[in-house]
């Protein structure tokens, strides 16, 4: 991979730091009038999601990271790996549970996910912002509760548990915001 100098660091650039693939979030140029120039850089470790802050001498460089964001369709899991398919080339990618992380509770077959590939292998899987899933289990709703703001837990096909309004019943398909894990609405009838 090519090397990138501090003056090429900009948000979104993928570089290697301490052997880990990182994405640059911020790059601040700091220099005393008479003295050494520095770049204070914030990076996200793409594997752990942690944000690192590091200072470089201006002009120092980092190796680029072989990182690619692709849109893949979730196929299935064999219990150990989660399999995603490229809808154009039909290539399959196996992601471990480290890479899937919390997204596991939003995995739905044939749904598209943003998968970050590092050296060709998935390191993170990001769900779409909104996803529609079926309720497999929830207490029956009570009449007359529609106007009040009460809620109850509901278990989805993926095993995730979300709070839903009292009028929602088992078997319904609901729309969820995956960023907050909150119920948004009943799914639009298709």
């Amino acid at each position: 991979m090519a090397n990138f100098s501090t003056n090429e660091f900009k948000p979104g650039l993928k570089v290697m730091l301490d052997g880990e693939p990182c994405s640059i979030l911020e790059n601040e140029y700091v220099k005393p009038g008479k003295g050494q120039a520095f770049n204070r850089v914030k990076l996200r470790n793409l594997r752990s999601g942690r944000v690192w802050e590091r200072t470089f001498k201006s002009g120092d460089s980092l190796e680029g990271a072989d990182v690619l964001d692709v849109e893949l369709e979730y196929s299935y899991t064999d219990g150990e790996f989660f399999y995603f398919m490229d809808p154009v080339s039909y290539d399959q990618h196996a992601a471990g549970s480290d890479a899937v992380g919390d997204t596991q509770k939003w995995l739905k077959e044939q749904e598209k996910y943003e998968v970050t590939l590092y050296n060709g292998a998935p390191i993170t899987v990001t769900p779409p912002n909104f996803i529609e899933l079926e309720i497999t289990e929830t207490d029956p709703g009570l009449k007359g509760d529609t106007a009040q703001g009460g809620s109850k837990p509901a278990t989805l096909t993926t095993g995730a548990v979300v709070r839903v309004p009292l009028f929602i019943s088992q078997g319904e398909i609901i729309r969820i915001d995956t960023r907050t894990g909150e119920y948004v609405s009943r799914a639009s009838k298709s």
């Binding site: 005393p32 008479k34 120039a37 520095f38």
Partner: protein
């Protein structure tokens, strides 16, 4: 899409015009003469921390000036008396919230006074322009000790590295002693004094004297007769009781070039016009350079320089 539009708002443009007129009135009232010197000169600057833009010309390379200092010292040596200049200055590679490769600099020289008296003048001007109540003065080593809780003036490179790691964790490799001091000042001291208002740091270590003369501090230590003015943690002005000793400055410029060579930077020819002027005699004087865009940013209450530049580096 709208890249042709200026960044600065019309109100800020008017504030710039008002600031320039305030500055010119200030100097007119004190009989300091406004001068105009070339920006494209046959010599550049040896300081390894500064990079000239090099402009190819028919008779060889010319250098856009990083400050009008050398030409103004030639005027002083020729008997100009007290002078000031408001001009553009150029520093390649310096782009950031507080830096633009082309910027406006105010530089002035007062004869017969030392840097402490010039500091006082700068303090009055800055407090007047920015409506601040007053300023603090800190000797460099006292402030470092106060902020870092460690004695750094006599500390070895290794000891400084330890202090820097304690404060910052991971630090860049291959920093020499002055590089470590620059790291500590920019990453620890500047944030620490960000809510102190107007702060002057005086009496720098000899290795950071730049073009200031060497004097003895009240404690009997050899220091550089230099001050820096910070406002809300941002460096605004740098002043010296000027060193007029040709041999001393020639040695410093040569050492600069040696350091450039070690760091893989191109060496710069030493300004022979400046040396000849100093040889003929620089009057006893103190001088200071102040960033006008930063002054305007402070006056307009904005954090980033692009808000006060009509067209920043991206749009220029």
């Amino acid at each position: 899409m709208n890249d042709w539009c200026p960044v600065a708002l019309p109100g800020v443009q008017r504030q710039r015009a008002a600031l320039l007129s305030d500055l010119r009135r200030y100097f007119a009232e004190r009989n300091v003469l406004e001068v105009d010197t070339p920006l494209l000169c046959s010599s550049g600057v040896t300081d390894p921390a500064l990079e000239n833009f090099v402009v190819p010309c028919r008779d060889g390379s010319r250098f856009l000036q990083t400050s009008p200092e050398y030409a103004m010292k030639r005027l002083l040596a020729a008997g100009s008396g007290d002078i000031y200049q408001i001009c553009k200055a150029f520093r390649a590679e310096e782009v950031g919230a507080r830096h633009n490769p082309e910027y406006t600099l105010l530089e002035w020289y007062r004869s017969g006074i030392d840097h402490y008296r010039l500091l006082h003048e700068v303090g009055e001007l800055v407090c007047d322009l920015l409506d601040r109540p007053g300023w603090q003065v800190w000797p460099w080593d006292t402030l470092m000790q106060h902020v870092l809780g460690a004695e750094v003036n006599s500390a070895s490179r290794k000891a400084l590295e330890k202090v820097a790691r304690q404060w910052l964790g991971e630090i860049p490799e291959r920093l020499d002693r002055d590089g470590l001091l620059d790291l500590l000042v920019s990453h620890c001291v500047e944030p620490a004094i960000a809510d102190w208002g107007v702060v002057f740091i005086v009496d720098y270590p000899i290795s950071q004297a730049a073009l200031a003369r060497r004097i003895e501090s009240p404690e009997g230590e050899a220091v550089g007769a230099r001050f820096e003015c910070y406002v809300d943690g941002m460096e605004l002005a740098n002043g010296y009781w000027e060193c007029g000793d040709v041999e001393e400055l020639t040695a410093r410029f040569t050492a600069d070039n040696e350091r450039r060579k070690q760091q893989g930077q191109e060496q710069r020819p030493i300004d022979h016009h400046l040396l000849a002027a100093l040889d003929s005699g620089l009057p006893d004087c103190s001088g200071v350079a102040m960033g006008v865009d930063r002054l305007l940013a402070l006056r307009a209450g904005v954090a980033s320089l692009d808000a006060v530049l009509g067209f920043d580096w991206v749009r220029s």
